[in-house]
């Protein structure tokens, strides 16, 4: 074990895998000398050479398509699309091609690729560089969707994503890149579809994703001072989703708050809330389910407005207080 950043953990998973497996290669804009849009691939060009760390023109559709085609024919590409907003330009190759080739071809062929991209707000990059569009891709049968919230998870989940025989979208959060955590030096895998209880509790379940896991943990620590015992559950992957873990947690606590950065309307939180509402945990609910998500606005530039556009620690604290307050007035 050693303390490394989320960013370093991702680089390690890539590097160890490239050492082990000749079929794994990197493709994307500015991933070579520049080290990638956020410095994640720094040093990998020196380590593996330009044949396996392929700098491309600014051509997201071709990058995505080249990844699909090479994956279909025996390679295991990892592509970086810098800001996840740029996936929109690669959407045909991802959604109409990669996601359903195998199905359309009657089970023939596989598309083992990992699409890495940085998502989220908080850096002042404004409306076209700050979105959280994971619900779009989670909606598409054939794609898997991963959102690591810690350095440890990032490394293990990326290993699993590379090993997976399907297209996997791996969302990295810009605000998490510099966060540190204990990470084993050797390669390890965290299975896709296995949630992690980041903090055990008995009064309320907060299902949070990506950077919201960190905010939920801070909120939980604050609430502990008020003797409110919060459980923070991180699904880690939206597809496949560990429904059982969520249902079991809500059954235990009787309260569910879902928190994500993506716009609440049409966000993945609605899916999680519905799964619980349709499950045996429904009867354990002692208050209505609540969702916290981004406001239905593009991410603004102004730092004050940018903060106001997505859930903050204080919003989580207040929501929990309100939910448990509702319970008390009901009794």
């Amino acid at each position: 074990m050693w303390m490394i950043t989320y960013s370093e953990a991702i680089r390690e998973a890539i590097s160890l895998e490239m050492q082990r497996n000749e079929d794994v290669f990197l493709i994307g804009e500015d991933i070579g000398v520049y080290g990638g849009g956020f410095g994640v691939t720094e040093g990998l060009l020196a380590e593996f050479g330009a044949d396996r760390v392929r700098d491309t023109p600014i051509s997201e559709s071709a990058i995505m398509g080249a990844a699909v085609g090479s994956a279909l024919t025996g390679m295991r590409p990892i592509l970086e699309l810098q800001f996840s907003d740029f996936i929109t330009i690669a959407m045909d190759q991802l959604v109409n091609q990669a996601a359903k080739l195998r199905y359309m071809h009657g089970g023939e062929g596989r598309v083992p690729l990992v699409l890495r991209a940085a998502s989220g707000s908080g850096t002042g990059a404004a409306a076209q560089h700050s979105q959280s569009l994971e619900a779009w891709v989670a909606h598409i049968p054939g794609l898997k969707v991963v959102q690591p919230s810690t350095a440890f998870d990032a490394k293990g989940l990326l290993k699993a994503a590379i090993d997976d025989d399907n297209p996997v979208i791996f969302y990295e959060h810009k605000l998490l890149y510099k966060t540190e955590g204990e990470v084993p030096k050797e390669q390890y895998s965290i299975p896709l579809g296995k949630a992690d209880i980041k903090r055990e509790g008995t009064d309320i379940t907060i299902v949070a994703t990506s950077v919201m896991v960190q905010r939920a943990l801070i909120a939980a620590a604050k609430l502990e001072r008020e003797a409110i015992n919060v459980e923070v559950l991180d699904p880690r992957t939206l597809v496949p989703l560990d429904e059982e873990a969520i249902i079991a947690s809500v059954k235990k606590t009787g309260h569910l708050l879902v928190v994500h950065e993506a716009v609440k309307r049409g966000g993945f939180g609605g899916e999680i809330a519905s799964i619980v509402a349709e499950s045996r945990a429904f009867h354990s609910l002692r208050a209505p389910i609540k969702r916290l998500g981004g406001e239905a606005v593009p991410i603004p530039f102004s730092p004050e407005l940018e903060k106001a556009a997505v859930p903050q620690v204080e919003d989580i604290v207040q929501s929990v207080q309100k939910m448990l307050g509702v319970k008390m007035t009901c009794i």
Binding site: Y34, I58, S61, D85, T123, V297, P300, S302, E304, L305
Partner: protein, 323 residues
Amino acid sequence: MEILPNLTNPELLHLYKKMWLIRHFDEKIDEFFRKGIMHGTTHLSIGQEATAVGACAVLTDEDKITSTHRGHGHAIAKGARVDKMMAEMFGKSTGYSKGKGGSMHFSDLEKGNLGSNGIVGGGIPIAVGAALTAKMKKQKDVTISFFGDGATNEGSFHEAVNLASIWKLPVIFFCENNQYGMSSPIDEMINIEHIAERAASYGIPGVIVDGNNLVEVMNATYEAAEHVRMGKGPILIEAKTYRWRGHSKSDKRKYRSREEERFWQTRDPIKQYEGYLINKGILTRETAKKIKLEVRQIMEAAVEFAKRSPKPSIEELYTDVYA
């Protein structure tokens, strides 16, 4: 070299002033980022002032432009107020986007700036649409779409140029080839020598100009504007230039040499135009000094205005999502 468009001496001096406004605006922004008092990121066009100013010199307020992530210069060249721009950079409510857009999203419809763009290649098809309006409404305005060398590898570029070519739309595709797209040297990213050669595959003229020579840029754009206004279809202009600073605020510039950077700095577009004006007897060293001083004062006032301006209210978060 003779100047083709019919511009008066004061107008020619105004172009000189605009180049300094752009240079100084971006230098100020650079300073504020270094000091850590500015939020977000930015892309400076220091060293590229001749392309924006030269191309926009032949346009009226009715003519349109679309711009890029490196768009401060385009905005100023198209007539934007630097105080409102500075306020935007500080995220203030008096900024062009009420503080909601920042460095990459300036627009000024009154002056014909349809907007800078955070998406590489994003503005090119929009320019085609603006030219379509001109054609359908039988207006005389032209649209210039600015974009970088790197953007010409986006599908949006190729689709847009093709569409404009078959409909013969009044649009000028203006490529500011500053040699790099972020860290990628353009000569490693295309299999031809000049971006202008791409025009051939759409059956339109492709022109190469020295992008650091304002007069050359202006003349080429003037001729292009005449051509497209006559309904002869679009033109692609490739202006060879260089960005002096890093790609954005966090660039260590490992992909190019300091020597190369020094070489290009000897080809300063402002110095070149200054020399031209002095040679022609249009500008004296005295006047040059006065203009530079004036620009400095304008910028100081802009910074003052920006700093004094209020932040947007939280209610502003919800406005402007829909018309």
